[in-house]
Point group: C2
Chain length 381, copies 2
């Protein structure tokens, strides 16, 4: 129940461990086509250029910038947590310029600020922002931000590593040009893959570059010889065959449950956690309307060493919750309710374990109330 990787279901683990076949085997190519279709479903898009990058989400982020940017390009980068800062690093390493719009951590990206930045800067190639900030648990208004990008004639680049599968992500409906996610958050596949999708407009930009993409491994013009629609697929790199078995299975599970139903489940278990955490006398750092149900940043009681609590939870309950990152280090715990991990059993375990550990440290505020509050929520809902 940390900020990811989330628990992987036995069904996905079983798919993961199927005997390997060649990455050019016709059966494998057929599965790749299915993965593409399933990702299009998850992203709600008809984008042709939709595929899993063969590396973790950080490489998915890099795939965006190295393919879309050229030296000298200007990008507005919104930062309201750790990952906006990482975007800045990526932009600059492409020889492009990052114009920052910074927000308090734990708040969503300020669309008015972004609007002002778009109006006061010219020749902006792209607007980049984090839809679901894993470091804080804040959700930004991706739809409004993408509309702003379109109005100002620039591309939108969206991080939804923690969003996909857990909250609404509507790539075509919102007009997202480029998006990346991770396999190990609300998809509950193993870590190591990064689903990405590009609009036709973005694909055109990649196709018509004047400079080669600085990364050979992430160059989508080359990757598409393998992941594209050609009958004969050409070797680019050796695909992570077993991880793709697992992704296929986890996407099938998402389709079986239904996208909307998955979002509802995340919301539902989040509400129960909220009831319990608040009954304990703790609070959330993100305002209710911007809270990600899958990533809960919770305040730490005064005079409590947060790391000691996490160690105790791991030792006594085999339960992992996350520490704060960046400017929130030492100030919050991050409790994940992602994908397969978002269930009633986990919510009740987490609340009772946290209550017990804090009580034994003499730091509980309202001991014994948390689990009952969550149970009340579940019985009413």
């Amino acid at each position: 129940m940390g900020p990811g990787p989330s628990d992987v279901s036995p069904r996905v683990l079983q798919a993961l461990s199927r005997p390997i076949i060649g990455h050019l085997d016709p059966e494998f190519i057929r599965m790749m086509d299915e993965i593409k279709g399933l990702l299009q479903y998850a992203f709600q898009t008809e984008n042709e250029l939709t595929l899993p990058v063969s590396a973790p989400g950080s490489a998915g982020m890099e795939t965006m910038f190295v393919n879309l940017l050229q030296p000298g390009d200007k990008v507005i980068v919104c930062q309201n947590g750790v990952f906006g800062g990482r975007m800045k690093e990526n932009v600059e390493r492409c020889g492009a310029e990052a114009i920052m719009v910074e927000n308090t951590w734990g708040r969503p990206v300020d669309t008015d600020e972004v609007k002002r930045s778009l109006e006061s800067n010219s020749d902006i190639k792209a607007l980049a922002f984090v839809h679901a900030e894993t470091s804080t648990g804040a959700r930004s208004d991706a739809k409004a931000l993408c509309e702003l990008a379109t109005e100002h004639g620039c591309l939108s680049i969206v991080d939804s590593v923690t969003g996909l599968g857990g909250i609404e992500v509507d790539v075509d409906g919102w007009g997202i040009d480029a998006i990346y996610s991770g396999s190990q958050k609300c998809l509950s596949c193993v870590p190591g893959l990064s689903p990405v999708s590009f609009s036709d407009r973005a694909a055109e930009v990649i196709h018509n570059r004047s400079h080669k993409v600085q990364s050979w491994f992430l160059d989508l013009n080359l990757v598409m010889a393998y992941w594209g629609t050609a009958t004969k697929r050409t070797y680019h790199h050796t695909a992570p065959v077993n991880a793709l078995y697992a992704l296929h299975e986890s996407l099938l599970m998402l389709q079986e449950e239904g996208l909307e139903q998955s979002w509802q489940r995340h919301e539902h278990n989040h509400n129960a956690l909220v009831a319990g955490i608040e009954a304990m006398g703790l609070s959330f750092i993100v305002d209710q309307e911007y809270r990600l149900p899958q990533l809960n940043s919770v305040t730490i009681p005064e005079n409590v060493n947060e790391a000691t609590v996490r160690k105790q939870l791991l030792a006594d309950y085999n339960l992992e919750i996350g520490a704060g990152l960046g400017s929130l280090a030492g100030k919050v715990w991050r409790i994940g309710l992602m994908g397969f991990s978002s269930n009633q059993k986990n919510v009740l375990l987490c609340l009772s374990a946290l209550d017990d550990v804090l009580s034994r440290m003499g730091a509980a505020i309202n001991s014994g109330k948390a689990v009952a509050a969550a149970q009340r929520y579940y019985s009413k809902a």
Copy 2:
């Protein structure tokens, strides 16, 4: 039995599918330390900077160049197959200059040519070459080439994707400065990881760069906050936890068998394959002394459509062998005997299946002799 991924043993598949734990869990950090030690054993090195990159071998290659090169650097790149060409692409995408030493495909890198190139060019930053060319099956003299690099004061960058675990690789003994391999060849782990190792001299170069590494994801100065020796490991990217379980297990298996014993097993099964293939009237494109035992490039009988044969082998025998790549496309089959796939059963299956398919096409030269020849080799050896 293609050019990789090789078969993965049930034991490694079982490790792969263990329940996931957090990438900062103390138990996981302990396993990371063990992986590092096991990789040091496999590479025969004491290099501190030894770790698996969280992406396939192509990303391992890119890790070398983006970390060691800066714009304007000059690198001698040897090409005697597909992968030397990929190195050139990587060097150029770093804004560096690749000075090519080209050889006939199927031959080893010509050390005399390399010597001449080193003598006639000044300010060479590195010499890059492929130790074990997966596209041809030729082994180059890594020891001699690294000595030349040292003599001329430049770094050696070595591709041993297909070498590690199958033939001798002596990083410290040969003075290799930077080397990358793959998980899915002679280690018989799942694809998606690339073990790398850097000498202290190379690590120093990375540490003292004036320009940032152009890839954030592959920047070893950042990756080391997670893979380094610090007691407190810092999050860089989410490690591919399950794939690392598998790598740990496959490296344990290599250690249990013993490095030298593994090389001998590869040699032994290769000899049996040679006996069979030659008894069939086919031949190897690589001269005996330079042949990789794990990757066998075999000529195709005249008037035979090589793709039809491969399709038939897959359909009738569930057996994959590889096609030729690049300038060898249509001219050879590539038969892999890598890691867990290098065994007597596979050698006999491959020979009998190939004999049968060719016979049915009326294209067999000495039908019925191949299996017997291999069996004779095994009974004598």
